[in-house]
């Protein structure tokens, strides 16, 4: 115990978690990579091999490229809508003099605790054929039969926004909260209008939060596949849906592995770029 050279205790404490990560994450990621070179023989049958058929397929088939484009587009729109919708509430919570500010914070965190699947399907009750909007329009006599409002790209984006908005608001809020209030006062005494002070002082200082929130929204949207299944039509799929279909329905594991590597590279590179410039520690804080 008194040995100054090597202390085994922290390693003993770390070992279980590291072992779990090794078995459940590190090795599986390597296996995905290996599987992407395997040969697909038939449904649910593959042969260990080192060949590039899956990759050639991926690079030649325009359908996959379209799926990437669609995924990036939907993720980007989701991210932008989250940023636009999320900034104002974050600003309000950070600056309000309301006595029960904790309540606003609690309401912000509350959606995280409401089941994801319930939050997604709740939109069927709003926009579905038996939803509140159709019911109201029917009752008012504006329409004679329910209108089809669901199952398109807009509702997929809306579902994603509903799921991701709290991440954005929390990130921006944390950033805004850490701004020294005196800076804004100083800008005002030096002759800035309120709007100028916001654009020159508050907004630039809150950019780190905006960036962290945007990254989270983009990456989480880009990796999802359940939302399009519930709120999207047949054409509103994301890259994750291709992976799910390839693995679980077509049982083509080598191709599914290839597509997984692609998704990982796509979203992982965004995280890496972000980490390079902003550092990942801010991201950890925001996930709390």
């Amino acid at each position: 115990m008194r040995d100054e050279g090597f202390d085994a205790r922290p390693w003993v404490l770390l070992a279980p978690a590291l072992l779990a990560l090794l078995l459940l994450m590190v090795i599986p990621m390597a296996i995905i990579f290996v599987f992407s070179f395997y040969e697909y023989v038939d449904v649910a049958v593959d042969r260990p091999a080192f060949q590039f058929e899956n990759w050639l397929w991926f690079f030649q088939d325009g359908f996959y490229h379209y799926a990437i484009w669609q995924t990036l587009r939907i993720s980007a729109i989701t991210m932008l809508v989250c940023a636009l919708l999320g900034y104002v509430p974050a600003y309000f919570i950070a600056n309000t003099t309301y006595r029960h500010k904790w309540l606003l914070m609690l309401l912000l965190i509350l959606p995280f605790w409401v089941s994801f699947i319930i939050r997604q399907l709740s939109w069927v009750h709003v926009l579905g054929s038996q939803g509140i909007v159709n019911a109201a329009l029917l009752w008012l006599g504006v329409i004679d039969a329910p209108v089809r409002l669901l199952y398109n790209e807009a509702t997929v984006v809306m579902g994603l926004v509903h799921f991701l908005l709290p991440f954005m608001v929390l990130n921006i809020y944390v950033s805004l909260e850490s701004i020294d209030r005196n800076l804004v006062s100083a800008a005002r005494t030096l002759g800035c209008t309120g709007w100028q002070a916001f654009c020159q002082v508050t907004l630039p200082l809150s950019l780190p939060g905006l960036a962290a929130g945007s990254l989270l929204c983009f990456v989480l949207a880009g990796g999802s596949y359940v939302t399009p299944l519930i709120l999207g039509g047949p054409d509103d799929f994301l890259f994750g849906n291709l992976i799910y279909d390839t693995i679980m329905l077509e049982l083509n594991w080598p191709m599914g592995a290839t597509l997984s590597v692609v998704l990982l590279a796509l979203l992982g590179s965004l995280v890496a770029i972000y980490g390079r410039f902003m550092g990942l520690s801010r991201l950890y804080k925001s996930l709390n």
């Binding site: 922290p10 296996i31 409401v114 994801f116 709740s122 509140i132």
Partner: protein
């Protein structure tokens, strides 16, 4: 000032956007109608009774509870041990280990799911409930580590050292001093991990063995047909559990803190 009222109005609208759909689910779960949507035909608890008699749902509930409890206990144990190692001892490459512990959140869940599934295939193992449990531990671990580390910052080693210099042996010092101080972190970790496991669907759809359903996958399966009133009732029960549990825990913690001061 006009700008400020606009900001307030906009904030209110965003909150409405967040909560109206959820509120509708809860309201509709008490609807007496035959179908899961509007119009509302009267107040009734019949769909909650129907839930209790639906074997598939009860089974899914049991699976989810068991899975959530086990995943929470394992993930919290792993997370607390690792956090103690990184925060109380000088470990080389602390940053690297921190990033590693948190990295499962940085990988898309779909990819994590495929990876573990292919690993099982590579080992020629069928999908099993153990795989599902291990996967849930993996997904919950980063969140446990984050929550626990935030709480551990406050527990400095000096307390333990003080106990030691007052004559406690290391085990006594741990159980009498460190562990009670750790309790809030333990509870926060357990609660967070449970909620994450209980709520997970993205990876669970990949990992669950044939015939095994958790509550979210059960709801997802039922959605394929139409939204039955039972789904609304189930949603309400889930909301009561995942929202009520942390709120209750928070209230109890606050009550205890008040009594102590």
């Amino acid at each position: 000032m006009r700008t400020w009222s606009l900001i307030r109005l906009f904030t209110l609208l965003v909150y409405l956007f967040m909560f109206t759909p959820i509120a509708i689910v809860v309201i509709l779960s008490f609807n007496d109608a035959q179908f899961g949507g509007f119009p509302i035909e009267g107040f009734s608890l019949r769909w909650f009774y129907a839930l209790a008699e639906n074997d598939a749902i009860v089974r899914a509930f049991r699976t989810s509870l068991l899975l959530g409890l086990l995943a929470a206990i394992i993930a919290t144990t792993l997370g607390i041990l690792a956090s103690l190692a990184l925060m109380r001892y000088s470990v080389p490459a602390t940053n690297f280990f921190n990033t590693l512990l948190i990295s499962p959140v940085l990988i898309p869940e779909t990819v994590l799911a495929v990876g573990l599934l292919l690993f099982m295939r590579w080992l020629d193992q069928p999908r099993s409930i153990v795989l599902l449990l291990a996967g849930h531990v993996l997904i919950a671990l980063p969140f446990v580590v984050l929550v626990v580390q935030a709480r551990l910052v406050g527990i400095r080693k000096v307390y333990e050292d003080a106990a030691r210099s007052l004559g406690a042996n290391p085990i006594q010092a741990f159980f009498q001093v460190t562990f009670p101080l750790l309790m809030p972190a333990v509870f926060a970790g357990l609660l967070f991990a449970f909620t994450i496991s209980f709520d997970n669907i993205t990876a669970t759809l990949f990992w669950r063995p044939a015939g095994v359903e958790t509550v979210p996958t059960q709801i997802f399966g039922m959605l394929r047909h139409s939204i039955s009133p039972e789904i609304n009732a189930l949603g309400t029960v889930m909301i009561v559990i995942t929202v009520g549990l942390p709120l209750l825990a928070g209230a109890i913690a606050r009550a205890f803190a008040r009594r102590r001061t």
